[in-house]
Symmetry: C2
Subunit: 108 residues, 2 copies
DNA sequence: TTGACGTAATACCAAATGGTTTCATATATA
DNA sequence: TATATATGAAACCATTTGGTATTACGTCAA
């Protein structure tokens, strides 16, 4: 389990790729459909899709001569986990702070 | 409000920078302290810290001739928001699916 | 005030990145 | 079968990135 997070974060570093993900939330799309929404060549978009696929953020299924790209919810797990580490860390610190304050007030 | 997310995601794309963040969770550190934990020059670490600062993920305070680097919880908001969009999206889709199933079963 | 220390700033380099163009391959369709 | 369509793949290019080394600057302490 516990997929490597590097390919995921690498994939998310480019604004075009994040925009592609946002658009795939609306509908699954072929490479041609995705590239219609961007001012760059189909080849460039294809490269971005490859990076997204390597990062596990999308899945690709073949339908005849078309490749249909779709979001892969599981691929977002590395980001969830990474963020979770820090959120948990801050939660714990807040809890510790509260505990310390209560302890202090017990001296009133 | 609503900080630009590009500098944030850019900052998170490098494994060294994510490791620096993890270490800053344990304790605030000067540049020299951070660079002691990595097999690269202080100058290289300093560049990473600059990128992290540009991304809003850390804050730097001056204490004499030292610069103390610390995590900035607010800087994580772009990631929280970005992830939240997709989580919300999937939640809604799941809810819609459940509703559709219930509706279908009402024909029994 | 004079070093020593912590950091900033710059120039430089190799490799990665994001784009292009061109050509090849596989599948639909007339 | 012949042609159009959808994609894959490779070569190429400019810019960015992540590292280095070197030098300069501010601050502490003897």
């Amino acid at each position: 389990m516990m997929a490597a997070q590097q390919p995921t974060f690498k994939a998310l570093a480019d604004p075009t790729r994040r925009e592609i993900l946002r658009q795939l939330a609306d509908a699954d799309m072929t490479i041609a459909q995705v590239s219609n929404n961007f001012d760059m060549t189909r080849a460039a978009v294809k490269k971005h899709l490859t990076v997204l696929s390597d990062g596990g953020l999308i899945t690709v299924r073949t339908k005849g001569r078309e490749r249909i790209n779709a979001l892969n919810p599981e691929g977002f797990a590395p980001v969830r986990d990474w963020l979770g580490f820090f959120e948990q860390f801050w939660d714990d610190r807040l809890t510790d702070l509260k505990t310390a304050i209560e302890k202090d007030h017990s001296n009133d």
